[in-house]
Symmetry: C2
Subunit: 107 residues, 2 copies
DNA sequence: CGGGGATACCTTGACAGGCGAGGTATCTTG
DNA sequence: CAAGATACCTCGCCTGTCAAGGTATCCCCG
């Protein structure tokens, strides 16, 4: 278990949606992007990532489609739905809120 | 489930230790103090609180003793051990770290 | 005096999310 | 041809949260 594993628990969905709000993407790319954005400090485990995809799709927050697999391995692309977008912006606000709370409690 | 419940998941131990680092205390008081410090924005569920006590004590991060129960209901006081203190300070640093990571991922 | 609310503790069991471990298939490069 | 990158996926364990339920004491109000 990495240092930050438990602390980021609960933000998985928002982190994934943050990428999909910008553009449709697929698992492997999202994972690499997370590592890049955090300078390698954080890496989402694959199992976590894919179970999140299933959860989000089941909840109607994202949809998926197979990419053109003429070259390389096939890719399953994900796209945010309108309710997924709302969910994301709401989650971002909640993060700001939670941050204030925790900061108040860990002086 | 309150808005911020999932987001604070994983900080329970640190939040409790933060209070005990200042002074020995007991469950009910800690809970009230959390509510006060967050202006009522956050309240730890009792079951969560007490299961955290058990976990922390098992791990040797806190110890407990019964308070003088001549008046009122009996109180079980908790005190931080040296390793509990180290754990707390380490957790606080990890929180700063996690905060930076999440901020980077939720633009 | 009786009842409700505050104080104070505790346990059980269900549930959800993270993730280790394992698996598949393709492409590129030395 | 082997190794490593790309790309996907599942099973099942573990841990933490918490709804629900329980106990006992004290104080105040009508």
């Amino acid at each position: 278990m990495s240092l930050t594993a438990d602390l980021i628990r609960g933000h998985t969905d928002a982190i994934i949606l943050a990428h999909l709000v910008e553009k449709d993407s697929y698992g492997y790319e999202i994972n690499k992007a997370i590592q890049a954005k955090t300078s390698g400090d954080y890496e989402m485990k694959e199992a976590t990532l894919y179970s999140a995809f299933r959860r989000l799709e089941r909840a109607g927050l994202i949809t998926s489609y197979w990419g053109d697999a003429t070259i390389g391995a096939r890719r399953r692309y994900y796209a945010v739905t309108p309710s997924g977008q709302r969910f994301y912006y709401q989650n971002r606000e909640e993060w700001q809120h939670a941050k204030r709370i925790i900061d108040a409690l860990l002086p």
